[in-house]
């Protein structure tokens, strides 16, 4: 396999070390290496690498640049709140603090290019310099000229420099309207099941044999592969459930080779863990505690998300109910629900064309504050004094900040939640919802 990673100009030993660290990504690494050429050769000005998360983009680049000891600057676009930070980090890692401090306050792109050229005339590049931009999709929100300039930075600064952009989004979504230099596109495909198995088996527990851990991973993938292919999540699950897997071994009931028995032991636990996949709501410790509790109670597994019960003051509950009603009922129907002598209004003559679909499918609608309060006063049994404490309890505001005189609100809670709340105050909310008439 190392044959893919052969490139003149680099030490054989180093290449082998790289190959060892990049399982299942030899093709991509080889391609990158051949693109980079010999260290002193000019490389393609910009490379765009894309693929799903946890497909090894940053890892491959990082290992390559680090192990081959190439000059590089890695910048995460999340961190660069302003372009100044980006420029600073690049200059800092190429030319040291002195160069970075030359940047004026709130520098422009041309400042950056000027200083870069000035510095590289003093210390010209012996090897290709690499600028790695992680989460490059955020560059789209930056200044319009930043992305095109980065793509042809080599020309601008007249230096041996290559910009590598890493993103989870395809290049088509990046291309600016004005057109730009097209970078070289490189796709990192998702790992296959076999590859996942190979990678996951690498971080084995030191006190168990490699085969044992591999068989564990095999079982794990058998259960989870159908719902989850994210390497990071799988690794998390592997760490979470391994101690359970080893339990019969520690008790001395089973031998390491007896996979069938081990499988029978772990399978129900993995099935339960399925329910909380991707939720990441429990750390390993709490997971174990919960499993112990459950063995005592024999109840269904309750993730922490089951604890949605929220204690609220009495009027807050009614405010929430009123907000929910205001969000999901059309305003015209208020008369029917909250007036005593509303007369008979049938739903059918009432319907407008666009209201035929359920409001619950469309999501909450904004409503003004006075409608909320009107519903609130009619919903609460007793007479409530319009006190300041009620006015001060607020909900998610959706309208613009500048619309001060008539702010609009939306109720963001779910149907289940509001049903639970209204049950505690013995209010039959379904009777008041237009959708369920």
């Amino acid at each position: 396999m190392t044959s893919l990673l052969q490139q003149p100009g680099y030490e054989e030993e180093r290449l082998q070390r790289v190959a060892k660290q990049l399982p299942c990504r030899e093709v991509q690494a080889g391609l990158l290496l051949s693109l980079m050429g010999k260290p002193q050769q000019y490389s393609y000005p910009s490379v765009f690498i894309y693929g799903h998360q946890a497909s090894g983009k940053s890892h491959v680049i990082h290992v390559l640049l680090k192990e081959l000891e190439l000059p590089h600057a890695t910048v995460s676009c999340v961190e660069c709140v302003s372009v100044a930070l980006l420029f600073e980090q690049v200059l800092l890692s190429f030319f040291g603090c002195d160069a970075a401090s030359l940047l004026p306050r709130s520098p422009s792109l041309s400042d950056f290019v000027r200083i870069y050229r000035q510095q590289c005339s003093q210390s010209p590049a012996k090897q290709t310099r690499y600028i790695v931009m992680e989460k490059a999709e955020l560059l789209r929100d930056a200044d319009a000229n930043l992305l095109p300039a980065l793509l042809r930075l080599q020309e601008l600064v007249e230096d041996n420099v290559t910009v590598i952009l890493l993103s989870e989004i395809v290049w088509d979504k990046f291309r600016p309207n004005t057109g730009c230099f097209e970078p070289l596109l490189l796709h990192f495909p998702d790992y296959s099941k076999g590859e996942l198995q190979q990678i996951l088996s690498q971080d084995r527990h030191p006190s168990y044999s490699a085969e044992f851990y591999a068989s564990y991973i095999n079982i794990l993938l058998g259960v989870f592969y159908s719902v989850c292919r994210d390497l990071r999540e799988l690794r998390h699950l592997a760490a979470l459930n391994f101690s359970k897997f080893c339990e019969p071994l520690a008790e001395g009931k089973v031998k390491e080779t007896d996979t069938h028995k081990l499988w029978r032991n772990i399978e129900p636990h993995l099935k339960k863990a399925m329910q909380t996949v991707y939720l990441r709501e429990v750390s390993s410790l709490q997971w174990e505690q919960m499993q112990q509790m459950e063995e005592k109670e024999c109840g269904a597994l309750r993730g922490l998300s089951a604890h949605t019960h929220v204690e609220l003051p009495y009027y807050s509950k009614f405010l929430l109910i009123a907000a929910y009603l205001a969000s999901y009922n059309p305003a015209r129907t208020d008369k029917r629900f909250f007036l005593k002598h509303h007369g008979k209004i049938r739903k059918t003559n009432f319907l407008k064309k666009n209201e035929k679909t359920s409001n619950h499918l469309l999501g909450p609608k904004p409503f003004p504050l006075d409608r909320l309060l009107a519903i609130f006063y009619s919903v609460v049994d007793s007479r409530v004094a319009p006190t300041a404490s009620i006015f001060s309890q607020l909900l998610t505001k959706v309208s613009h900040d500048d619309q001060l005189d008539a702010p609009k609100y939306k109720c963001a809670v779910s149907m289940d939640f509001i049903c639970a709340i209204s049950r505690t105050v013995s209010f039959d909310i379904v009777k008041y919802l237009y959708d369920f008439l």
Binding site: Q53, S76, V78, E79, V81, S82, A84, L85, E88, Q89, R105, S106, K135, D203, H205, P206, S207, R232, E233, R235, H236, A238, A239, F242, S243, Y278, L279, R280, E281, V282, S283, S284, L285, Q286, L304, S305, H307, T308, H309, V310, E311, L312, P313, Y314, Y315, S316, D370, A385, P386, T387, A388, S389, I390, F391, Q393, L404, D405
Partner: protein, 750 residues
């Protein structure tokens, strides 16, 4: 002209590099920097002059205070009492929070130690940021205290690097980053004076470089830890540094997670996870609603970077129950609230905010009001002081005592000669007062234990006739004679049906309650109760000796029953059976049970009478529930409407006084305009309104028949002002439906 927001202003200040003094001034401004304004703009914050305030505190108290002659003593008493209540509640709160805080501290310690000992499991999650999700409940006003003690504890025992941030100060990622860096680096400045120069330098560096990023923090952290490691331990200030881990974690507390902009939070976590290998970061999320908010706010790609552990704090209702238990239901504090005031405070808590802190604030308000408005509150203190204070009462205050309703009732019950003595002889009155004060004290000493006993007996009954919580029972008892209450009767009936072991357990708990009480009567009651208990326990042995003979008298009619098939006969026998059962001799257990319950009943009747029946209760009980309600649960709209419809209520001007809710024409313009607008429908014609207004106003000005009802410029201007004031108050708004019309925003009218 450019208008700066306060935030920008501080930015500039920081960048400008300040000298030490002006920096202090800045921090003062920063602490005060919250305005109630909804608009963005430039605010001037003057440094508050605290010295003046403390001087005038007592003057404030005696100003406008009833019976000014002893206001000094009362002020002192009030202060002492409040200080005591405050420290007590603080201790209580610390205790309540101790469990959760301890587990949090353990969590942080564990996190920092696992970084050092790398076993397999912790290696697997080395890239995750340890996060504690702290669920605190919806009573947000109480949270500040918890977070304060949490960060104090963390700084004392785990790590000096703690920063807490609030959502409102971190609108953008930049601000969040800046706040975190500032707090982390500045806390060191304030904590360690020794390293001030060094820290000053770093902060200067920070401010010199315009952008603050986490790599700056990393460098700072490295120099910090390196220095403390290499530094000689003898010179080090912090002695607990020995067992501290070599790399204390950097803890960031997000006080109100829900309020944070999810975008900002996500980005911040993403950035932090890039530095987790170099910087031992740790998060604490303060959550008010439920842990699932984390999932709502953070997508999987972000939440997978965290290793979340959940911590649930005590529910606020439990919290309040403990506070009431320790603060209200104790004879320790002489100051008491009457039923209505309690009701107001409780309803604010249950219906509005769930905030224990606000409840205590309410108690504080009642306390202040009581000492301020009741001259006789000099007697509301410890027994010894009260007895002394009685001797020093002035003649005026003694007259006040004579006018107290409870004292009048007391006098009426006395002999005629004694009545005369009490009403005329001051020294006699003082002696009696001392006796009465002592009596009141004894009443309280007996009241609370008996209340608790009754509560233990009734709190487990089906459907809770006397309430689940002891405070509910307390409220019932405060209002009227509890034994006249229907619920009390049902509770007693239910108690008469209790099984033996249940009853014994309950009585046992009553004994435990009465045990520590030192009053004579309670001691006697305790002896009796213990005696009852032993008799209950002896029943077993006695019952074993005498075989029950009741069985056959029950079985015989049952046998008869099987023979009879006639409906009438059946009914007859059933009735007979019922009769016989009722008349049946009670078993020894039943006799004893009745005896025990009668004993409890007598205890209740002698000790749980409402405080209003006690003589001199006005000294200790604060009764003005309306004041408390007005202060704590204000009704802004009602006040505005009251002011507009009857200006006399606020202005106290005799010419404004009217009888039947109408507004006099001498009232302020806005009141007249308001009154006129009430007569209109949803849309108001401005011209008609103006005409009507001009008529009313000219009637007030005098009767020049020529200009009557004519609109001159002054009137026009006054009218426009009144209308725009009404618009500002939200009664009308301009509308495009009809020209020259405004729309009413309220409904109803005269």
């Amino acid at each position: 002209m450019t208008v700066k927001t306060p935030q920008q202003e501080t930015d500039l200040d920081l960048q400008g590099g300040l000298n030490r003094e002006s920096k202090d001034a800045f921090t003062v401004a920063n602490a005060e920097m919250s305005t109630s304004s909804v608009s963005k703009g430039c605010f001037v914050f003057k440094p508050s002059c605290k010295k003046k305030k403390t001087v005038s505190l007592e003057d404030h108290f005696s100003h406008g205070c009833e019976g000014a002659e002893n206001s000094e003593t009362r002020f002192k008493l009030c202060q002492d009492l409040w200080d005591k209540i405050k420290t007590d509640t603080e201790v209580l709160q610390d205790e309540l929070n101790r469990k959760i805080l301890d587990s949090l501290l353990d969590f942080t310690r564990k996190c920092s130690s696992t970084r050092l000992h790398s076993d397999w499991a912790s290696q697997m999650r080395a890239s995750e940021i340890p996060t504690a999700a702290l669920v605190l409940g919806v009573n947000v006003p109480d949270h500040d205290m918890t977070f304060q003690s949490l960060s104090d504890l963390l700084q004392q025992s785990v790590t000096p690097h703690v920063a807490s941030v609030q959502a409102k100060e971190c609108g953008a990622l930049k601000h969040l980053m800046k706040k975190v860096l500032e707090r982390l680096m500045d806390t060191v400045v304030t904590v360690d004076d020794e390293e001030e120069d060094e820290a000053e330098q770093t902060s200067a560096q920070l401010h010199k470089s315009v952008h603050c990023s986490l790599s700056t923090l990393c460098d700072w952290y490295n120099t910090k830890t390196k220095k403390s490691n290499s530094g000689t331990p003898g010179k080090k200030r912090c002695s607990p540094g020995r067992d501290e881990p070599q790399q204390p974690p950097v803890v960031i507390i997000f006080k109100d997670l829900e309020a944070f902009n999810p975008r900002v939070l996500q980005d911040f976590i993403l950035i932090c996870s890039r530095y987790i290998e170099r910087l031992p970061l740790m998060f604490i999320f303060g959550i008010a609603t439920s842990p699932s908010t984390i999932q709502h706010m953070l997508p999987h790609s972000v939440s997978s970077l965290l290793c979340i552990e959940l911590f649930q704090s005590l529910s606020c209702t439990q919290h309040l129950a403990t506070v009431i238990d320790k603060l209200i239901l104790t004879p320790q504090f002489p100051f008491k609230l009457n039923g209505k005031v309690m009701q107001v405070l409780m309803s604010i808590f249950l219906y509005h905010d769930f905030s224990v802190r606000n409840f205590i604030k309410g108690v504080q308000l009642a306390l202040l009001e009581h000492f301020h408005s009741q001259p006789l509150s000099v007697l509301c203190c410890r027994k010894k002081e009260a007895v002394l204070n009685v001797m020093q009462l002035s003649h005026r205050n003694l007259e006040r005592i004579r006018h107290l309703p409870s004292f009048k009732r007391y006098v009426e019950k006395q002999e005629p000669q004694e009545q005369v003595n009490l009403l005329t002889d001051d020294t006699r009155l003082k002696v009696v007062c001392q006796k009465l004060i002592k009596g009141l004290r004894k009443y309280h000493k007996n009241y609370y234990p008996v209340l608790r006993c009754l509560h233990t007996l009734t709190s487990s009954l089906p459907r809770y006739p006397l309430g689940k919580q002891v405070r509910e029972l307390h409220l019932i008892c405060l209002e009227k004679h509890v034994w006249e209450n229907e619920d009390y009767q049902t509770a007693m009936k239910l108690l008469k049906m209790l099984a033996k072991d249940e009853l014994i357990a309950l009585l046992q708990r009553c004994v435990e309650i009465l045990q520590p009480v030192k009053s004579k009567k309670m001691k006697a009651a305790l002896v009796l109760l213990k005696d009852l208990l032993t008799r209950f326990k002896q029943l077993d042995t006695v019952a074993a000796e005498t075989p029950p003979c009741a069985e056959d008298c029950i079985t015989s009619p049952v046998k008869d029953l099987q023979k009879k098939t006639d409906l009438f006969q059946l009914q007859k026998t059933l009735l007979e059976m019922n009769e016989s059962r009722r008349a049946k001799k009670l078993s020894p257990f039943e006799v004893l049970r009745n005896e025990a319950l009668e004993f409890i009943d007598s205890l209740v009747k002698s000790h749980l009478s409402p405080p209003e029946s006690q003589t001199l209760n006005e000294v200790c009980y604060y009764t003005s529930s309306a004041t408390v309600r007005r202060h704590l649960n204000a009704t802004p709209r009602t006040s505005i409407q009251a002011a507009l419809s009857s200006p006399y209520y606020y202005l106290q001007n005799e010419s404004l006084k009217t009888e039947d809710g109408s507004v006099s024409n001498a009232a302020p313009d806005i009141c007249i305009a308001y009154k006129l607008h009430l007569e209109c429908g949803r849309l108001i014609n401005l011209y008609d309104w103006l005409e009507a207004y001009a008529t009313v106003v000219s009637a007030a000005e005098g009767n020049n028949p020529d200009s009557f009802g004519k609109v001159d410029e002054v009137k026009h201007a006054r009218f426009i002002q009144a209308v725009s004031e009404l618009e500002f108050l939200g009664f009308i708004k301009s509308t495009k439906q009809k020209t020259d019309h405004v729309a009413r925003l309220t409904w109803g009218g005269c």
